[in-house]
Symmetry: C2
Subunit: 776 residues, 2 copies
């Protein structure tokens, strides 16, 4: 068993594959050193050594020897010796192994190896001020991490020193104050812990390593890991690294840099630095950092050197990097690198550029973008006052990325839209059809609600027929607008779904107006409305039941739809209407409504002397519909699965209801997510699969779409993709998100990168309506 | 092809296997003749002949010849000739083939063959009055059936005759009035139809047969058949039968008889007759019918002869029969027989007696009783004022029948009961345990609602603990009572299920009282209650969510339950508690609650120094629970499937809601039945099967019960039996019904009559709680 892995000087004992034993920081330091970046040399004590310590209370035998050997190697690489009291001594930092900070686990102890003697030697080499500053930092950190002294005593001593020196910042303290402060710090440690800082540098190193080991197993660290679901028996690695200083004079500096502009994504080095400063010293806000281009010359660092670092990092990590660096007396050291945070817009540009540069392939570029961030790109690039959310305003890289997504994905993306303007917007954003057009939204418009109310309260067939006659041309105009906007693409129009009584007035003015319209006594009308409300409680006469109880409503809507389709066809445009029967519970319900629609189609087509192909299908919104999908599909050309209502009924849970217990449930792990946001795969998802698979047993050419909020949720879409769903339908502004998510699902499920032939799924969703014979 | 089948004289060309071609009446007449009953001789024209006529408009060639041959046979059998104008002529009835009357299809035409000449001959043999009476009946029926004359004209003429003769009834008309009436009837026919009654008896017969054929295809008959779902291309048979008369003098009579007493079920001939009357003559109410024992002697019919008929019928049909008979001049004719209607009580006695007599086996006896009628037996035999619904008061045959049912069935029957009295009643009625005890019903008692409210509005852990301390002994007493009543049998107790806010007061007095109890400001309390209501809408914090949000409630109930079980066990009784977690949606919910219960069990058992076995399971009431049954079952000893709520959520339908559309849906055949009464097998049933089958994949020893209204519905029970459910639980008064229905399900599914060994299902339900290790 080997306990220590060295790095530095362009080589390393371990790298990124050794994260389990080296921790993320140790593995990365090794990796950076291996690819030729100048990292301060050092070594990593493995997690395995930590585990032995946690188990037995003793470090493994042999560890100390390996550490001593690694320290010898450090002396070779730096030319300095640990504890040297004549020449400039080797000082090291001792820190934890994970890049993720955990409460209760301490950050790094700096300047380990600084004794009163070695500090004097350092003072001779680098100035007494610098040496004292190093030492007081060491005393404080050692006190806190190793001896468990609270930080407050040091803060108080510092504040006192500033006050008595009448300065605002620590950096302004003069030499004599610093001397007094170091003595005061040592006193604090002694007072609080009853112990002294070891005079032996090796004892300091040993205690520091063991303290980092021990920090893994504090109560706070354990609690924190439990919350995050991190295994508690892993242990931590310990990194020991030669100190480098950005505050060693005017040829020294510390800074951060991104390999590309994290805001615009532009492919140029971006960053800033502070000269003669150690980053940890909290001077932010006191001095202005300078842009990175100014490093050139003055600090002895050529921009070309940084450019080379940039290329080295990107060609190795194949992503934009965010790095910490230090220039010590003209020598550039890289301390850390990580994938850089970036704006949504930059993320898109960087992914597309990197694909163009050959750094990554297109599929990797597609996987790089969180689909949820696409909206951000659109928002950030469109002037909100411009009115339409226009894609041409938006970065050209987004268009290209979504184009690549379209090449890869097999899941079609449609939009929910209730009118021509919305439909047109959806089409601009790449929707391949309308997945859900809710006609009840059309019927509540100011000019028609009155007529709709006349229809509902009609007492005779004649009154009812009159209202229907008035409504029919209005509906027809609605449908014509949508068909024109979506010419050539399928449009799924849902028949009236809302409980009728919800459309009736309850206020005095509304009732009076309806009474005038219908020539009825207001009081009589009020009681009629009340009676209707009472006999129609909440779930009420909605969905397919509206059409079954009032087939004339379905007939009116179907007639308007067919007439609109014929009119638009006559303009030379192609229409693909799909008629959706809502909230279907059984095959019989669908069959009954299908007969009504077919009769109307026959009538309209006969009268016109020509027909158009159309499809008819069912909304699957209750578990029973999914459970009897095979039978229902015999009467359906397609299913439209409404996952919002299906979630509500499958879980016996209303959305308004979640607030009272969801936080508790998430906290206790009883739920993983809000089931109305991300599909409940085990329950609702099983019904979606069942509806899809068994529906196709009843009708092998069945087209299956999902509409509802999950239709635009990337996580849920991956499930829909695997379940064999043909298309999802979402709000227009979610269409680009859905296109990308669909591509990611296809890539993750292992489909070939660019389908040469059209897949069966694509073929199925291509022209669904064409499957239905022309019924003229 | 043969068109005519003869019967009479102890033999027949066809019998009950020929119902398709002879119709139900023809087949039965043949059958009766074959087994030696004296039926009036005659013949049946087949449905095939009718179908030829309906298809071609002509009777099949050869039919007439066969009819003539059959008439010749009739002459041989009766010694009378058709159209004879010298001796007493042969008269026949011509009627339809089905025993079921259909609107628009006419009943029988009597006395066909009565011409002016033959009637004179009949007058000479039987008296002119009798002959004229026969003739006027013939003229009316022939007019109506063959010539389509409305019945009203005849009724008017009769009323006119009665008025001018100043008599109240037709039978009182004198000879001369009868003569005038016959002439008037013939005039009516001529006037209304423009045709005369044929003077040729053969023409009468031919037209009568064709008229019956034609009656099959009237519009009303077609509509009626469509409603009943009878195929319309079947056609009707025609029965031609020699007339026999119960009004041929004082040695003649007509009557009805049951082979057993239809009210008590006693095994003796039961019936009544009218002497010198034809039954059709509508004299009911004018003369009192006499009990059948009086037939003896005076009418030349020995009771022994009727007894022989009774034995013949029962040994052949193996069921109690209801027969029509006529005595003509001392000779007993049987005209029709059918399984007799009987009271529920008689049905049970007859089935048990017949099994004892060896007429049927026990399984047939069990299948004979509609389980829905068992309640009727209990109601009819128990004095409602006696208080308890007692089985010992009820007929001993019911106890024996239910005993046989218990021998056959594999599905266990439990009862829903919320208190000791109800539990004891259920046990008396044969319940094998409590399937559902709803603790929220216990908590709303007057003495405890106040404490429950304290608990809900408690602001501190101390207040909450105090309320729980008060409630605990009350719950414990409830549980002890039930455990005692059900000693030795399993008792499933459901943890609190109702939304908490529903238990809070909304009236001023209630709020004031709660304020006094808790020492809080009434206004502050009111706002607290309102806030609770708002944040807990309808589906609210119910089911497992109550226990998860307030684990102390579950803990209190579990503690009371275990303490009660220990106390009752100390009395030497055996308890089998089953803890039911309500409205479970996921395995995680159940697991969380299980942990709470297990912790309490450990505490209580440790404190007591001993433990008891118990089981813990989940209510399956939402589709998601059924869909994830396998995972949930890993934490469950049993499932209790609540089919009421499961129906509501699977269909997305509330029960209150049905009224607005159920009648229309039933009429249009979209629904077959009320899904809350009889299980929706395709949808909800599939989830029940899924929960059962997949639950046992998660836990092979999983016990599955159904509670809910379907648990007592015989049709649904057949499904539960086949689905592998272990037990149903219903209201106590439904337990006997369920026991019988369970037996019928077992018989119908083809299990061996009396299982020698205990079936796996029985074993599973035997002592479910014993599967859980004692946790002391």
């Amino acid at each position: 068993m080997r306990w220590v892995y060295s790095f530095g000087g362009g080589e390393a004992d371990g790298g990124r594959d050794d994260q389990a034993i080296l921790g993320s920081i140790g593995a990365q330091l090794g990796e950076m050193s291996r690819i030729g970046l100048n990292v301060p040399p050092g070594f990593t004590v493995t997690t395995e050594a930590c585990r032995v310590f946690l188990r037995t209370g003793e470090p493994p035998s042999g560890l100390w020897k390996e550490i001593q050997e690694a320290m010898r190697m450090l002396t070779v690489r730096t030319g300095r010796a640990f504890g040297d009291d004549r020449a400039e001594p080797l000082l090291v930092s001792v820190g934890r192994g994970s890049a993720v900070s955990m409460p209760g686990t301490m950050d790094t102890i700096l300047d380990v190896g600084s004794t009163e003697d070695s500090i004097r030697a350092l003072g001779r080499a680098a100035g007494e001020r610098f040496a004292l500053d190093c030492h007081r930092r060491f005393v404080q950190l050692y006190g806190q991490v190793v001896l468990g002294v609270g930080g407050a005593v040091f803060e108080r001593a510092l504040a006192e020193a500033r006050r008595s020196s009448r300065v605002a910042h620590d950096a302004e303290l003069d030499l004599s104050s610093l001397r007094t402060l170091v003595t005061r710090f040592r006193g604090c440690v002694r007072e609080a812990s009853g112990r002294d800082i070891p005079a032996d540098p090796w004892a300091q190193l040993r205690e520091a390593v063991l303290a980092v080991f021990g920090s893994w197993d504090t109560r706070r660290a354990r609690d924190d890991r439990r919350v995050r679901g991190i295994r508690t028996d892993l242990g931590t690695a310990v990194n020991v690294m030669a100190m480098v200083y950005g505050n060693r004079g005017d040829d020294s500096a510390s800074g951060v840099a991104f390999t590309r502009d994290p805001s615009s994504g532009e492919a140029r080095l971006f960053g800033e630095f502070l000269s003669n400063e150690q980053r940890e010293d909290g001077v932010a806000g006191v001095r202005d950092p300078k842009p990175i281009v100014e490093l050139q010359g003055r600090f002895g660092v050529a921009l070309g050197e940084l450019e080379q670092v940039r290329r080295l990092l990107e060609s190795h990590y194949r992503d934009m990097q965010d790095l910490d660096f230090i220039v010590e007396r003209g020598e550039l050291y890289i301390l850390q690198t990580r994938a850089g945070e970036r704006s949504a817009r930059a993320a898109v540009k960087i992914a597309v550029d990197m694909a163009d540069e050959g750094l990554i392939d297109r599929r990797t570029a597609l996987l790089r973008i969180d689909p949820e961030r696409i909206e951000e790109v659109l928002h950030s690039s469109v002037d909100p006052s411009a009115g339409v959310e226009e894609l041409a305003a938006s970065p050209p890289e987004l268009g290209r990325l979504l184009g690549w997504a379209d090449d890869v994905r097999t899941l079609a993306v449609r939009a929910n839209a209730d009118g021509p303007a919305e439909a047109a917007r959806a089409r601009e954003l790449g929707a391949e059809g309308i997945g859900l057009c809710r006609t009840e939204h059309m019927l509540v418009g100011e000019d028609r609600l009155g007529v709709v109310r006349e229809l509902i309260v009609a007492r005779s067939d004649r009154d009812r027929a009159r209202a229907l006659e008035l409504l029919s041309p209005m509906q027809r105009a609605d449908f014509e607008g949508i068909f024109r906007a979506m010419a050539g693409l399928p449009v799924a129009i849902r028949m009236l779904d809302s409980p009728l009584h919800e459309l009736l007035p309850t206020d005095r003015d509304g009732i009076r107006e309806l009474a005038e319209r219908t020539g009825r006594d207001p009081l009589e009308l009020t009681t009629a409305i009340l009676r209707m409300r009472e006999s129609n409680p909440m779930p009420g006469r909605r969905g397919a039941r509206v059409g079954i109880c009032f087939p004339e409503v379905t007939a009116m809507q179907a007639r308007a739809l067919f007439q609109a389709a014929l009119a638009v066809t006559a303009e030379g445009l192609v229409v693909h209407p799909e008629i959706v029967i809502p909230f279907v519970r059984s095959a019989q319900e669908l069959e009954t409504q299908r007969r009504v629609v077919e009769r109307v189609a026959r009538d309209v087509f006969e009268q016109a002397g020509r027909g158009i192909p159309y499809a008819l299908g069912a909304m699957i919104e209750v578990p029973r519909a999914a459970l009897t999908a095979r039978q229902i599909a015999r009467h359906a050309d397609f299913f439209s699965i409404g996952t919002d209502d299906l979630t509500r009924t499958t879980l016996g849970l209303s959305r308004d209801d979640l607030g009272t217990f969801l936080p508790l449930y998430l906290e206790q792990g009883i739920l993983k997510d809000d089931p109305f946001r991300s599909l409940d795969v085990q329950g609702v998802g099983r019904l979606v699969s069942m509806a899809t698979v068994e529906g196709r047993k009843g009708n092998p050419r069945l087209l299956v779409g999902v509409c509802g909020e999950h239709g635009g949720d990337p996580v849920s879409m991956a499930f829909f993709h695997d379940a064999g769903v043909d298309h999802v339908s979402c709000a227009p502004f979610r269409v680009p998100t859905a296109r990308l998510a669909a591509a990611q699902s296809a890539i993750r499920s292992g489909l070939p990168p660019s389908p040469v032939a059209v897949s069966p799924r694509r073929e199925r969703q291509g022209a669904p309506a064409a499957r239905v014979a022309v019924r003229a």
